[in-house]
């Protein structure tokens, strides 16, 4: 194995590791086989595992996710790809009404061990219908687990946990991170879902981030360090299960909170984090909380416009400075 692995390669590697250890893992999606995925995140799977385990589908999002559900209920572990997370809306019935409810409404009679993978987020200039950060959509639905890794190592470790999970997992792969490189994890690497990581320690402020916002928060923390402000950066990794304990523990050290979210401010995941902190950690705070989140508009096309809408290092630095002075 190469010294470094890209996030993109880690997706295929993470799936392949699970397909090698469990014959019931199968993949389906548009262009995932011969083409290796439009983002090349499934390259090599068809060659290694063959057409009985890697299935190209028509452009039929309802059939893809609905069939994955039926297969998951009957003894397989499907990994379904929805090419862009915006397209989750085309099969939202399955993610809002079917997959997360069927176990509950049957009184626990059925289990749905499936993964829906999807390329999420902006930064690549794909415009309003191929760029949204939609992780907050899934957060509105009880019954879905939500993973959004920030590093190649976490992609592999969280993919292992997601595929082995007996619960449905929506797995957000961030488009802006696909070329990011990192050390490949050792064989058998599993990152339990619902365990946040403190990726930078600091005592002045806690930055809670997810996916591509993690490296952005780290850059902001480095910039702030030059000003004498030491930020602690928490990579949430998952929205469900939500590791609120790690966030609250960090606030015991820092007493200041900033969430860094790519999804829109309206209904963004940071609102849930902040509400937990207000409810259970109000006494820990020495300052108001700040949310650096997407603006409440569709994603525009031009870079100069997109920068206005999604969080940037400067926006995070500005928010933290304001809090530090409070």
């Amino acid at each position: 194995m190469a010294d470094l692995i890209t996030y993109r390669e880690a997706v295929a590697e993470g799936i392949a590791r699970e397909m090698r250890r469990d014959a019931s893992v199968v993949c389906l999606g548009e262009d995932i086989g011969a083409a290796g995925g439009v983002f090349k995140t499934t390259t090599g799977l068809l060659k290694e595992f063959g057409p009985e385990r890697v299935w190209d589908t028509p452009i039929s999002e309802q059939a893809i996710v609905g069939a994955a559900m039926g297969a998951a209920m009957t003894g397989t572990r499907p990994v379904a790809e929805i090419m862009f997370s915006d397209f989750l809306a085309c099969c939202w019935d399955y993610l809002a009404n079917e997959i997360p409810k069927v176990r509950y409404m049957t009184g626990g009679q059925v289990t749905v061990p499936l993964v829906v993978r999807t390329a999420n987020g902006g930064g690549l200039g794909f415009g309003a219908q191929h760029s949204q950060a939609t992780e907050n959509w899934a957060l509105t639905v009880p019954g879905l687990k939500i993973a959004a890794p920030a590093t190649p190592s976490d992609v592999i470790g969280m993919m292992a946990a997601a595929i082995r999970s007996d619960d449905p997992v929506v797995f957000f792969e961030h488009k802006a991170l696909l070329a990011a490189k990192g050390a490949p994890p050792p064989p058998g690497h599993v990152v339990e879902l619902g365990r946040a990581a403190v990726v930078r320690e600091g005592e002045d402020v806690t930055l809670v981030a997810l996916a591509s916002m993690v490296p952005l928060a780290l850059k902001a923390a480095d910039a702030l360090s030059g000003e004498g402000i030491e930020a602690e950066v928490v990579d949430l990794r998952c929205l469900v299960p939500l590791d609120a304990a790690t966030v609250l523990a960090s606030l015991r050290r820092t007493s200041r909170l900033v969430t860094v979210e790519e999804n829109p401010y309206q209904g963004g995941w940071g609102a849930t984090v902040v509400s937990i902190v207000a409810d259970e950690g109000f006494g820990l705070l020495d300052a108001p909380v700040r949310r650096v989140a997407g603006e409440c508009v569709p994603l525009p096309f031009a870079d100069a416009l997109e920068e206005q809408v999604i969080p940037t290092v400067d926006k995070v630095v500005t928010a933290v400075r304001g809090l530090a002075a409070y």
Binding site: T57, G66, M69, E98, P113
Partner: protein
């Protein structure tokens, strides 16, 4: 069908008919809440199909699904207890009338978003093929579902992958309150669309349990042999309105009368007579059905309410509902 097999089917249909009547009466007594979508009149489809299927085949049904749960092994007591919000209900009172499910016998659910379960049946058939089990999946759905996108996505994918799945349309002539013919571009909503997806489409008398059994059996053998999916339209008629709130006054009296004379139980009774089964034998089957459902009603009435703590179970596979640390 042999006389013994037909008599068994008759008794199952009689159990379903009486269970539906009991559900209707219990609703009027205020013991069933929400709504119900009764399948009285459509019994032959569930019973005939079940007679043709293997015990390990998969069935997916709709919110009008009591007959499928009963045909696949759920007891009247489990079903009525579910409708009556009892702890002993089929889904432990978490599902209700629209979500009857008996997974242990392959009845993988009743789904109340129209057409949503068709892709699931495709997936179950795909899974059966991947596992090499020769199992079949059957999706039962109403005529209204044929105008849903998932119907077309399912037929295409099943055809492209040549999966062992049957799409059985219970055409009762009305999508909810509206005649299906008024809102559909072809006369036979499912069968006429099937060829567009490279799938054979057939029509059968859905009130004739023998005809349903024959058609499903034949199409099932074909699908198991690797020849791919099929669409079967079973023409039928509901004895009640769309749901509890619907008296179905929009249906012409002449039409209702004609269909009530074409009742699946009456048809089976006539056929049993032709096969030499005595009236007393049929009456004994009716009496067993009556007694079974009567006991079921008593047992469901006597059953306890669910433990309120059950509300926070069964979200996740570990049995719990925790979403955060």
């Amino acid at each position: 069908m042999e006389a013994a097999g037909l008599l068994t089917c008759y008794e199952r249909m009689a159990v379903i008919r009486r269970t539906e009547k009991a559900a209707h009466d219990l609703f009027l007594q205020g013991l069933v809440k929400g709504t119900t979508h009764l399948a009285a009149g459509q019994e032959a489809i569930a019973v005939g199909a079940s007679a043709a299927l293997r015990p390990d085949d998969y069935v997916f049904a709709t919110y009008r699904g009591h007959h499928h749960a009963l045909a696949r092994g759920a007891t009247p007591e489990e079903c009525l207890a579910e409708l009556m919000s009892r702890a002993t209900g089929l889904c432990r009172a978490k599902g209700g009338s629209m979500h009857l499910t008996k997974a242990a016998t392959g009845m993988l659910g009743s789904y109340a978003i129209v057409g949503s379960h068709l892709p699931m049946a495709v997936g179950a058939a795909w899974s059966a093929r991947l596992r090499g089990t020769q199992q079949l999946a059957v999706a039962f759905f109403g005529d209204g579902a044929t105008n849903i996108g998932a119907f077309h996505e399912s037929l295409n994918l099943a055809a492209v992958w040549r999966l062992p799945v049957l799409f059985v349309c219970e055409n009762n002539l009305y999508m909810e309150y509206t005649p299906i013919a008024d809102v559909t571009s072809v006369p036979r909503p499912a069968a006429d669309r099937a060829p567009a997806h490279g799938i054979p489409g057939e029509v059968v008398d859905g009130n004739d349990v023998e005809a349903v059994e024959e058609a499903v059996g034949r199409l099932a053998r074909r699908a198991r042999a690797g020849d791919g999916p099929a669409v079967l339209v079973a023409e039928t008629y509901r004895h009640f309105g769309h749901s509890r709130a619907d008296p179905a006054a929009y249906r012409p009296a002449e039409e209702v009368e004609r269909w009530l004379k074409h009742d699946p139980l009456d048809l089976a009774r006539g056929r049993l007579a032709e096969l030499g089964v005595g009236e007393e034998t049929v009456a004994a089957a009716d009496e067993r059905a009556r007694a079974l459902v009567e006991r079921a009603v008593e047992a469901a009435r006597a059953a306890p309410d669910p433990d309120p703590r059950e509300a926070l179970t069964d979200v996740w596979a570990d049995g719990g509902a925790a979403w955060r640390t």
